[in-house]
């Protein structure tokens, strides 16, 4: 241990030395007096644990106290007069003692000051603070402010015990897993906040309207639970619960569409299951509630299952009728804003399959992905002459499944109708390209031999390093939207894109910024030297005909 001390009379310093000896500490004396406060403060940079001052030699206790406090150093003052005592107490020193104190007292005061200082820094206290911070997060949901399950379990128990029954509504909020991949987690957070607000409002309305809706919580990632009390004598209980469930579903859906658009809203499914518990003194109440939650969840899942089955048959009809249409999203040269090419994005004709993510998700589950991909590719390529100038490129999304599709795999050029492969850029998402790396490299080589070019899509959305991207030797890298949205105010994203640009320029790869929606984002991307830009800022996508059901 090290103690830094000001000069003081020799008796006092002797006492200090003796106490320090007992404490196994080294004493460093800083020469000079009051006007040399700066010297003392400089001495703090050698990390002493204690600073000992003679109060008569210090002018500015508060500065000294602030300095020692910031560094976690104990400050002990020796006083000769009552005025000095008042001054050091007002200056907030950790401990003070009389200048004539004994060695024992000196020792005790130093130890006490150390304890006081280290209370804030001691591992136990820090650990408690950290734990407390982390537990606080767990009790109340940060989106809704609703209590989490452990908190509300007690309320459920009260209802069940007082009224004899409890109805649990389980609201399953299913999102297509790709939502985060497409829009980034920030966007998902916003969506969850919207949902939470909608649920909260719905809950408040209900609470005002009838007294029987009692609680709502957020469980796990994005499901909600309502606890409501039912009236046994009411013959329309079930109907009322259904109405409640539907009402909530509609209000969430409307809110999502209004705030985030049909595309994003389309990526969510809301399924509600209900179950009613009756008091049974033989069973522990908590256990009943947990079981009830599971039952309600199960009901919600079977609703979801039925919905899925319906979507699969919708998809089969879509394939039969070739009911897809293509949007061509322009990609522009960042500097000049002239159109460099278009990314083809397929959408389903039927409303429920409008979102490409949903459509491809259903196809994947139903094992119809090749058929759907073929149809979409065919459509995109059919439209090339009509929609693109001869010098513009067509960017096509390729699913990893496509490489296992024989018609695509062996580049049955007639089958897919490509006259000039050099105008086609195949986009492969970073996630699959990197995990399936050896297989991919082989495929890519063959396709390249035909004249096709490649883009690594969604770069920066996963964990892929630049080395593994480089190994694929892409012609283009498309920066994921999560790196671009709000890049103008997010320095971390700017740092990342900067790193990517110097890498890409080294390798001779063109970089495309996806999802540029605001002028500020465009300016930031331009300043960072990103070659190409895509997004709703300049051009809305071209909608291209053949919308069979819309007509």
């Amino acid at each position: 241990m090290r103690i830094v001390a000001t000069e003081a009379d020799s008796d006092l310093l002797d006492v200090l030395q003796a106490a320090a000896g007992d404490l196994d500490a080294e004493v460093v004396i800083v020469p000079g007096t009051a006007e040399k406060d700066g010297k003392l403060i400089r001495a703090l940079r050698n990390h002493p644990q204690v600073v000992f001052i003679d109060a008569s030699k210090i002018d500015d206790f508060e500065t000294l106290r602030a300095e020692t406090h910031a560094r976690g150093i104990a400050l002990v003052a020796a006083c000769h007069t009552p005025e000095e005592q008042t001054a050091v107490v007002n200056g907030n020193v950790d401990e003070w003692l009389d200048a004539g104190a004994s060695v024992e007292e000196m020792k005790a005061r130093i130890e006490c000051a150390l304890k006081r200082v280290h209370r804030a820094e001691s591992p136990e206290v820090s650990a408690q603070v950290v734990e407390h911070l982390q537990y606080e997060e767990l009790l109340y949901d940060r989106f809704t402010g609703f209590p989490t399950l452990p908190v509300m379990l007690e309320r459920g128990r009260e209802i069940l015990e007082h009224t004899g029954s409890l109805t649990i509504l389980y609201i399953e909020f299913v999102r297509y897993s790709k939502l985060e991949e497409i829009y980034g987690w920030q966007r998902l957070d916003e969506v969850l906040q919207t949902t939470a607000r909608a649920v909260r409002e719905f809950y408040n309305d209900q609470e005002g309207a009838r007294e029987n809706v009692l609680m709502v919580s957020h469980t796990g990632d994005d499901d909600f639970i309502f606890f409501t009390e039912v009236d046994d004598s009411d013959p329309h209980v079930e109907e009322r619960i259904n109405t409640l469930a539907r009402g909530m579903e509609n209000s969430i859906r409307e809110r999502l569409e209004k705030e985030h658009g049909e595309d994003v809203a389309g990526l969510f499914g809301i399924y509600i299951g209900a179950t009613t518990l009756y008091r049974n003194p033989k069973v522990r109440t908590e256990r009943m509630i947990y079981r009830g939650i599971r039952e309600a969840q199960h009901v919600a899942r079977s609703v979801e299952q039925r919905e899925r089955t319906r979507k699969v048959s919708e998809l089969k009809e879509l394939l039969r009728d070739e009911d897809v249409f293509i949007e061509y999203h322009p990609i522009v040269v960042t500097e000049t804003k002239e159109v460099y090419g278009y990314e083809a994005l397929a959408r389903g004709g039927p409303r429920g399959l409008r979102s490409p993510e949903v459509m491809f998700g259903v196809a994947e589950e139903a094992n119809l992905i090749w058929e759907l991909s073929r149809l979409c590719r065919k459509r995109a390529i059919e439209g090339i002459d009509e929609n693109l100038d001869p010098n513009q490129l067509l960017f096509l999304n390729i699913d990893p499944h496509d490489f296992r599709d024989p018609t695509f795999r062996y580049m049955d050029v007639e089958e897919i109708g490509v006259d000039n492969p050099e105008r086609i850029v195949l986009e492969i998402t970073e996630r699959t390209a990197i995990t399936d790396y050896p297989v991919f490299q082989k495929y890519l080589k063959e396709f390249r031999a035909h004249g096709f070019r490649f883009a690594v899509d969604d770069a920066g959305s996963g964990y892929a390093g630049l080395g593994s991207i480089a190994n694929l030797e892409p012609d283009f890298i498309k920066l994921d939207i999560s790196l671009i949205s709000n890049i103008d105010t997010n320095f971390m994203k700017q740092n990342l894109v900067e790193t990517m640009m110097s890498f890409a320029n080294d390798q001779g790869i063109q970089v495309i910024a996806e999802g540029v929606e605001r002028e500020e984002e465009y300016q930031a991307v331009k300043e960072l030297g990103v070659h190409l830009t895509q997004g709703f800022l300049f051009h809305k996508p071209k909608y291209v005909g053949k919308i069979t059901t819309e007509a």
Binding site: R45, A70, G72, A127, V130, E137, Y463, F491, N495
Partner: protein, 129 residues
């Protein structure tokens, strides 16, 4: 405007912390120190600094964990966090973005760069409020 801002410097290497401290103080900031992740969070609770300069490689809770805890906490999430680390590659910056960090300074520390990044983050933090 910068002079009344409080900065928490977190580094298990006391000499590094001291260098940052005296530099930032010479620029008029109020500086608080912590030498490990846990006590950094304890100090955050106590003083609510405007910005944290956070070393990544620390024994116990590392800088990423500290950053995530700050950014997930409702009272602390607004605090600007600038990571300080020897690793300046794509993967590390990506990790920083996922942890919710606001900016990044690469070691060995260039004090001019520190100043620039501290300034721009304090300015941006002020705007947001």
């Amino acid at each position: 405007m910068a002079s009344d801002a409080t900065i928490l410097v977190v580094d298990d290497n006391r000499d590094n912390a001291e260098i940052l401290r005296s530099f930032l103080e010479s620029r008029g900031y109020k500086v608080i120190q912590a030498f490990d992740g846990e006590s950094a969070l304890a100090r955050m609770e106590e003083v609510h600094p405007d910005l944290v300069l956070l070393d990544v490689m620390m024994p116990g809770m590392d800088g990423w964990q500290v950053c995530r805890t700050i950014k997930q906490h409702r009272d602390l999430a607004e605090t600007r966090v600038v990571m300080v680390t020897a690793k300046g590659g794509w993967e590390d910056k990506h990790e920083g973005m996922r942890a919710g960090a606001d900016d990044y300074v690469v070691k060995p520390i260039d004090l001019k760069e520190v100043e620039k990044k501290v300034e721009r983050n304090l300015a941006a933090g002020g705007d947001a409020e």
